[in-house]
């Protein structure tokens, strides 16, 4: 061993002891994905070995020295069929298996705990429903389905947790989601994997997996005041959403209690399910999401509310099951402009132009 320089030796030891071919399996889906991956590796190895063996043996057996005269062969339909059908069959197995995995990863279960993640140049902000905010890290419990609802504030980013085998693009303008169930406590890599500018390589962090008890302790110790829903309630009142969405029989907007997850009939025909994406869109592009029986008078809040604000509102509406507190906040603010006609459900057809700051907004 004296022949090998100490630096090289250290290098070798470090490599041999830390050698891994694949990341730790820390989620329920990870071993399932690894199974398909290793099947593919096996098929590739077998395929490659066959090709290399054939090439090598033909090269030796039929080298010019050994086999001076070539035999002209046109082809063989049987062989063509064989090496068409067998690869096709193997690829189709991988297609079906992979698609099943894909649907599994991108179809969150109904009881998943939802955490919002906002990506921006160059950091990740995770927002737990209880109001805990994290930057470049994400604490999750084991044994619980966790859904991430992602959005970007600027360019494309991609939220990647190799140890969980999940990854999802965070896109400006719409929510995307992915779910997982962590199985092993520990700290794992979080990467941004979609090139997003100068500090793309610095947009990394830690996924901290805790046992359910430790997770509860962490939640309790790191709450920063309001939960997302509470913040949403505050925004709901300050942006005067309650002026129209207050559950009164004569309100100008539909009641939002228990609206999350329900099927809505839209003005102009069609139906929609009120999921997170629909709620977000209704706030930012209301004229395309008018419920049947209501006039298209809701102003857009595009530019007046950040993605974090929208998330808070969405969380608030998701948890809203009665208009009791909405009523209460209504009574404490003077919202209806003087001399306005008594609000009816369906305003007359020639409604005046919906300029921002129209009726319903808080007077300065």
């Amino acid at each position: 061993m004296s022949h090998i320089s100490p630096i090289l030796w250290q290098f070798l030891i470090k490599w041999l002891t830390n050698f891994q071919l694949y990341p730790p399996e820390a989620s329920k889906i990870a071993p399932q994905m690894d199974a398909l991956y290793f099947f593919m590796v096996l098929v590739s190895l077998v395929g490659l070995t066959i090709v290399i063996l054939l090439i090598t043996s033909f090269s030796i057996l039929y080298s010019r020295n050994r086999h001076p005269v070539a035999v002209q062969i046109e082809g063989s339909t049987l062989l063509e069929a064989t090496w068409t059908i067998i690869p096709l069959g193997l690829f189709l197995i991988m297609f079906v298996w992979g698609s099943l995995l894909y649907f599994r990863i991108y179809t969150p279960p109904a009881n998943a705990m939802n955490i919002y993640v906002v990506g921006k140049q160059w950091m990740w902000k995770a927002e737990h429903p209880g109001g805990q905010h994290e930057i470049n890290s994400l604490h999750v419990p084991t044994g619980r389905a966790v859904q991430l609802t992602l959005i970007s504030q600027d360019v494309f980013h991609s939220f990647s947790i190799p140890a969980f085998r999940v990854k999802r693009e965070a896109i400006p303008g719409r929510y995307t989601s992915v779910w997982f169930e962590a199985t092993t406590p520990g700290t794992y890599h979080l990467f941004c994997t979609q090139y997003c500018g100068t500090n793309h390589s610095a947009m990394i962090g830690d996924i901290v997996v805790l046992t359910p008890d430790d997770f509860k302790k962490w939640l309790d110790s790191s709450t920063s005041g309001m939960s997302l829903a509470q913040n949403g309630e505050r925004l709901f009142a300050s942006l005067s959403c309650n002026a129209c969405h207050n559950g009164r029989p004569d309100s100008r907007g539909p009641s939002l209690a228990n609206v999350y997850g329900s099927k809505l009939a839209l003005a102009g025909g069609g139906t929609a399910t009120a999921d997170e994406a629909y709620l977000r869109e209704s706030i930012l592009n209301p004229s395309q999401h008018v419920t049947e029986g209501y006039a298209p008078i809701m102003p857009t809040y595009q530019g007046q509310i950040s993605e974090d604000g929208v998330i808070s509102l969405v969380e608030y509406i998701k948890n809203l099951n009665s208009n009791y507190r909405v009523e209460q906040t209504l009574n404490t603010t003077d919202l209806l402009p003087e001399g306005a006609p008594s609000p009816g459900k369906a305003a007359p057809a020639a409604a005046p132009a919906a300029t921002p700051g129209g009726k319903g907004m808080v007077k300065p």
Partner: protein, 554 residues
């Protein structure tokens, strides 16, 4: 029996033919205003080699940075520019024109029995457009480069970067039209200018591959062009097509961009596959096994290649059901490539094989393309794609098919047709050494990247967690070896221009009309239009032909 099939004329008395396309006219204008497809091919060869080495130097910088986990060699912004320019130059200025514009331009008219391509002036225009695009890229580099990545992802490229996005977009737009006109020329030539007796199924498979690639060039590249126009308008005027705050959709850019850029990869690989068909046939002395299957598989790849673009977007929030369609089609497009590999392998069966340099590169292609292609299936399956996409697995995959595949095929073709293009042989021993060095360097560079990708290391990262360092060091070490492997051909091929052995008409004893002409060929290729009366790869016809020549010499 010797273990080489090279048959050279007696070197003591042999001479390069005095009248050939190189000596026909002199002076720089005769080159810059030429209509001769062979001269244009040589112009392209010089230009793409120039850009290859710039792209290669940028690759060297990337690998140097990645020796250490920290971003310590250059600023993050600089690194971003380095990998962006590396991708743009290698793809648009090297890989896309490599085989078609150099070897294809030179050889296809002769292979079909024509005196030139159908539209020689358009051919020259193609080269000028290429040079214009290339010059604009060079200017961009000197003006500070661009850091969008070669994929120009919006809204990053339209709203969040202040580098030279516009000039790069224009450069790629111009180079794209170079590609369109080359493809257009090939399609028209192959349809309308075949010699009498040259039916479609007597064409060499090189022609079939380039025909398929030309269809892709002609139909796909215009979509890239209009996408770049929209990016330019969005960036300069804020029209909003890709901007979610104005109702636009950044995913629309992705669809439009990948609609071209996926067929682009088949534009890059199909001509290389054509080279492999020619080389394997010649150095086994055998007709390619399953000619019809190989010919149709080229067209199948071209057709299917248009319908798989969404596999670059599986994790971008597209409809889950759409991924079913595109994943299935991706599996289908993988099959014709597998068919080709097996057909080439079985061409070796009962052949009479020698191992000159083009054949060594062809063997390298077959092994490395198999790995690259199979890893493509890993990515085409949506479940594994979630984990592997946007990591070094992707980088390894496309370098295996493009460098281990396409670049090896290009080198194979350059060595194969070098005697025809220059009249001289390259030195065999050193070229075989270079092929071996390239193969070893390539595997050392890119195989560790598969593991890095599986471990989760993202692509386009200047810094990375320390546990990934060892594999990155291997990769950089391999890159050094690879660099040597690519430098050697420049040196010995240039050397051979003056000192190489005189090749004669047909040093490889190959079939194909180009080997029946002198080396280098006449400007008009043929003294009289040939009449094709035998099948492609007809070695029996060749034997009779050569016997006639031998007996007719005094």
């Amino acid at each position: 029996m010797s273990s080489t099939l090279v048959l050279l004329p007696d070197q003591a008395t042999a001479r390069i033919p005095k009248v050939n396309y190189l000596t026909k006219e002199n002076g720089i204008l005769s080159w810059l205003l030429t209509g001769d497809h062979k001269r244009i091919a040589m112009l392209y060869l010089v230009s793409i080699t120039f850009f290859f080495f710039i792209g290669g130097a940028l690759a060297g910088l990337i690998r140097l940075e990645l020796l250490t986990p920290q971003a310590d060699l250059m600023a993050n912004d600089t690194y971003n520019k380095v990998f962006s320019m590396h991708g743009i130059i290698m793809i648009f200025l090297f890989l896309v024109p490599s085989v078609p514009a150099t070897i294809g331009n030179f050889v296809i008219p002769i292979m079909v029995g024509a005196k030139d391509l159908a539209l020689p002036k358009i051919n020259l225009l193609s080269w000028y457009l290429y040079v214009a695009g290339g010059c604009l890229v060079l200017w961009t580099m000197m003006n500070g480069g661009v850091d969008t990545g070669w994929t120009f992802t919006t809204p990053l490229s339209t709203h969040y970067l202040n580098t030279n996005v516009l000039s790069t977009g224009i450069a790629v737009f111009i180079a794209g039209f170079s590609s369109i006109f080359t493809g257009l020329n090939f399609i028209v030539t192959i349809h309308k200018m075949r010699a009498p007796g040259m039916t479609w199924f007597r064409l060499p498979l090189f022609v079939w591959s380039n025909y398929a690639a030309s269809i892709l060039m002609v139909l796909g590249t215009p979509v890239l062009a209009i996408t770049l126009v929209l990016v330019a308008l969005e960036r300069t005027m804020g029209i909003g097509v890709f901007d979610p705050t104005k109702g636009g959709d950044p995913l629309l850019f992705q669809h439009l961009f990948w609609f071209y850029s996926h067929p682009a990869v088949y534009i890059m690989i199909l001509p290389g596959m054509g080279v492999i068909s020619e080389v394997i046939s010649t150095f086994s002395r055998k007709r390619v096994f399953g000619y019809t299957a190989v010919a149709f598989s080229s067209v199948a790849i071209a057709v299917f290649g248009f319908f798989v673009w969404e596999h670059h977007m599986f994790i971008m929030g597209v409809s889950n059901y759409s991924t079913l369609v595109f994943s299935l089609l991706t599996m289908l497009v993988a099959v014709p490539s597998a068919i080709k590999i097996f057909n080439w392998t079985f061409t070796l069966y009962k052949g009479s094989i020698t191992f000159e340099t083009p054949m060594l590169y062809a063997f390298g292609f077959m092994g490395l393309f198999t790995i690259g292609g199979l890893t493509g299936v890993f990515l085409g399956s949506t479940g594994t794609d979630i984990h592997l996409t946007e990591t070094y697995f992707i980088v390894a995959h496309f370098h295996f098919v493009m460098v281990g595949g396409m670049l090896m095929a290009f080198l194979s073709g350059i060595h194969f047709w070098w005697p025809k293009m220059t009249g001289r042989m390259y030195p065999e021993k050193i070229s075989q050494l270079a092929a071996l060095i390239t193969f070893i360097g390539f595997n050392l560079t890119f195989f560790p990247q598969f593991i890095l990708g599986t471990l989760g290391m993202p692509r386009r990262y200047a810094s990375y967690p320390p546990e990934f360092q060892i594999l990155n060091v291997f990769s950089t070490a391999g890159a050094t070896v690879l660099g040597v492997g690519y430098l050697l051909p420049i040196l010995y091929l240039t050397w051979s221009l003056k000192y190489g052995e005189i090749a004669g008409n047909n040093p490889w004893q190959a079939t194909g009309l180009e080997w029946q002409t002198q080396s280098p060929p006449l400007t008009e290729n043929f003294v009289e239009t040939p009449i094709m009366d035998h099948e492609a790869y007809d070695y029996e016809w060749l034997e009779k032909q050569m016997a006639k020549e031998v007996t007719s010499v005094g």
